[in-house]
């Protein structure tokens, strides 16, 4: 991607303004669903299902209370007999004739998401960097076929992969384990990692390592001390992609995990209150789940942009 734009035919100021207005309009409209998720997470259940939809409301953290707890319905007499509420969550729960029974599964599911996403990203980037260096610098027999094979593994529909994986994990005792999910996500991500990183490493001049090797470095030392530092940006960009994939993944998680290793994406849709989905709680879970990605996107937008266009255009 060349950074230089065609500045010769500079657009007129008027056309720039119109273009800007349309883009801003699109950006704002496309942000509405996201805004609505965050707004709903701060509504009370009655506010969330009001008609017409409420734009102005008194914020409440009831959704977050409901997200992190399980509650049981009690009689008014029982609630009246309890000691005064300890915190806000206690108070709002009692107002709805319920008491907090215990913590919900959201926190463990969220922690699972963290462990599996970061674990698999680390493994995929580690293996991917090594393989990318191998393909970039050495004459590997059948290199093109191997690279194509690596990439083609991404074309399989996830459910198609999940059927034999389900059977295999059942035999190996990897069903519903974090290790199983990390292995699976690593395998899915490593193909992308090799492709992205090979491009980044191809850009580093070979002369650097050759010079280092003439200075007496072995190949491994040259890789560690010369190539790796040069490839940091590329590795970071690749890591973000792997992380986003593993964080957002749903199909494998829904089919292969059910309890101890379940991640947040299959869990959040199952949050229900009395009489259907508890939308403020779902919105609260969704908000907490999306915040890391939003922060990543804003902070690392340059690497992201580079990675997306770069990865796509190379393939």
């Amino acid at each position: 991607m060349s950074a230089a734009a065609h500045s010769v035919v500079e657009p007129t100021p008027a056309s720039k303004r119109i273009a800007g207005a349309i883009i801003i309009l699109y950006a704002v409209v496309s942000m509405v669903p996201l805004f609505w998720i965050i707004a709903t997470s701060f509504k009370t259940p009655p506010d969330s299902i009001a008609y017409p939809p409420k734009l102005v409301f008194t914020p409440s953290i009831e959704g977050y209370c409901n997200l992190f707890t399980t509650r049981t319905r009690q009689t008014a007499e029982y609630i009246a007999s309890l000691p005064p509420p300890e915190n806000f969550c206690d108070e709002v729960t009692r107002k709805r004739n319920m008491v907090i029974a215990g913590p919900s599964n959201f926190l463990p599911r969220f922690v699972n998401s963290l462990i599996i996403a970061f674990g698999s990203t680390f493994c995929a980037v580690f293996l991917g960097t090594l393989a990318a260096y191998g393909f970039s610098r050495f004459k590997v027999p059948l290199a093109d076929d191997l690279l194509f094979f690596i990439l083609s593994t991404r074309m399989m529909p996830p459910i198609a992969v999940a059927i034999p994986i389900y059977l295999m994990y059942r035999e190996l005792g990897l069903s519903d384990t974090a290790l199983g999910m990390i292995l699976l996500y690593t395998a899915v991500n490593v193909s992308l990692a090799v492709w992205l990183l090979k491009g980044f490493i191809d850009e580093i001049p070979r002369e650097y390592e050759e010079a280092a090797m003439i200075d007496g470095y072995t190949r491994l030392q040259a890789f560690r001390k010369v190539v790796l530092p040069q490839a940091t940006t590329g590795i970071a960009a690749t890591a973000i992609f792997c992380l986003i994939f593993a964080w957002n993944e749903y199909a494998f998680a829904a089919l292969l995990t059910s309890g101890t290793a379940q991640t947040a994406p299959p869990f959040i849709p199952t949050i229900i209150g009395e009489g259907g989905q508890d939308w403020p709680a779902v919105a609260a879970g969704t908000t907490i789940f999306l915040v890391p990605i939003l922060v990543f996107t804003i902070l690392l937008r340059k690497q992201l942009l580079r990675g997306i266009t770069f990865g796509a255009v190379r393939k």
């Binding site: 035919v9 883009i23 609505w36 191998g134 074309m155 059927i163 059942r170 190949r219 959040i268």
Partner: protein, 322 residues
């Protein structure tokens, strides 16, 4: 101090290396390049063989049997090509393929049109374009499952924001806007969410394409007094075409495999109006537990994606080399 020592040692090693015969020198200096190459590549290949290829071979084997994963002890009978024959003649499967085709076709059309237009506008480089580009990107970073699930709420006929806004502008009563439970509207409900989510991706690739067009071509066009309209049709569009085609390829493959967003938004319903291929596959494999049958279907899908993608890449290369 240690550094000097190390470099002295290195020098000594080098001197030694120079005076030793080549094969010995290589062994002394650690792994040969070939050794390093295999050491680096082998783990990835092994992992992919274990998690991708071995299961695929297993699935191929199962696809010729009547195996059911929920009855591991039942006798497994080899049924030959029966599963494949049944899939290719099954009207439900063909209906699912049509639903998938409808979804893939319309998402690609909408995303390409909107994505290219947005890229073309961003390429005007108005003030703050980088910031707004980042904002536009946000939907594609989010989890299709988690956000797809929330869209169910937006689509609620009475209380949902989508129905409210549409009825506000169109005058149709909001209770009539049954995006998810109307047979006519549900296929469009999934197209809208996918377009909202993935238009930014197409936009980015188109933008890369627009920025790859060198200035001098436009300069030449100016000299020739080509109109803006003419420049667009004979320079901008043809030169960005390989990029647009790439974006179409990626979205095509992804949407052919689409599962998470649709599963949470409609679950294939109402009835089976939005049952795309992956949902059918999930129902066969993990609800009806027809493992052999669904393996055959999975293989057929994989071959279809692979074959179509290969034909498309050939076409793409022809466009590129033009």
């Amino acid at each position: 101090m240690t550094e000097t020592n190390a470099s002295l040692l290195d020098r000594a090693a080098q001197a030694a290396a120079r005076s030793t015969p080549e094969p010995v020198a290589r062994r002394v200096r650690g792994l040969s390049d070939k050794g390093v190459a295999w050491l680096f590549i082998a783990p990835t290949i092994v992992l992919l063989l274990a998690i991708n290829i071995f299961p695929l071979i297993w699935a191929i084997r199962l696809s010729f049997t009547n195996y059911r994963a929920n009855r591991p002890n039942a006798e497994v009978v080899n049924v030959g090509l029966d599963n494949y024959r049944r899939i290719l003649t099954d009207s439900d499967i063909w209906f699912a393929m049509q639903t998938t085709a409808h979804f893939v076709f319309w998402t690609i059309v909408l995303q390409t049109l909107i994505g290219f237009t947005l890229a073309w506008l961003i390429d005007r480089k108005f003030r703050g374009h980088a910031f707004w580009t980042t904002i536009i990107l946000v939907p594609m970073m989010l989890s299709p499952a988690v956000v797809g699930n929330f869209w169910r709420f937006l689509y609620e006929p009475q209380i949902g924001l989508f129905a409210y806004v549409v009825s506000f502008f169109s005058g149709i009563p909001p209770t009539d806007i049954q995006m998810l439970s109307s047979v006519r509207l549900a296929p469009w409900a999934i197209v809208i969410v996918d377009t909202w989510m993935w238009t930014p991706y197409v936009m980015l690739i188109c933008l890369a394409g627009l920025r790859s067009i060198p200035d001098y071509i436009y300069e030449a066009a100016e000299v020739d007094r080509a109109s803006n309209w003419r420049q667009f049709w004979s320079i901008t569009l043809p030169m960005a075409l390989p990029f647009i085609m790439l974006a179409v390829l990626f979205r095509g493959i992804e949407n052919f495999k689409m599962f998470d967003m649709v599963n949470l938004l409609t679950g294939g319903g109402p009835g089976s109006t939005t049952e795309v291929a992956s949902i059918t596959l999930k129902r066969e494999a993990f609800e009806k537990w027809r493992t052999g049958f669904s393996s055959a279907f999975a293989i057929i899908l994989f071959v279809a994606v692979f074959g179509l993608a290969n034909i498309y890449v050939k076409a793409l290369n022809r466009v590129k080399s033009r």
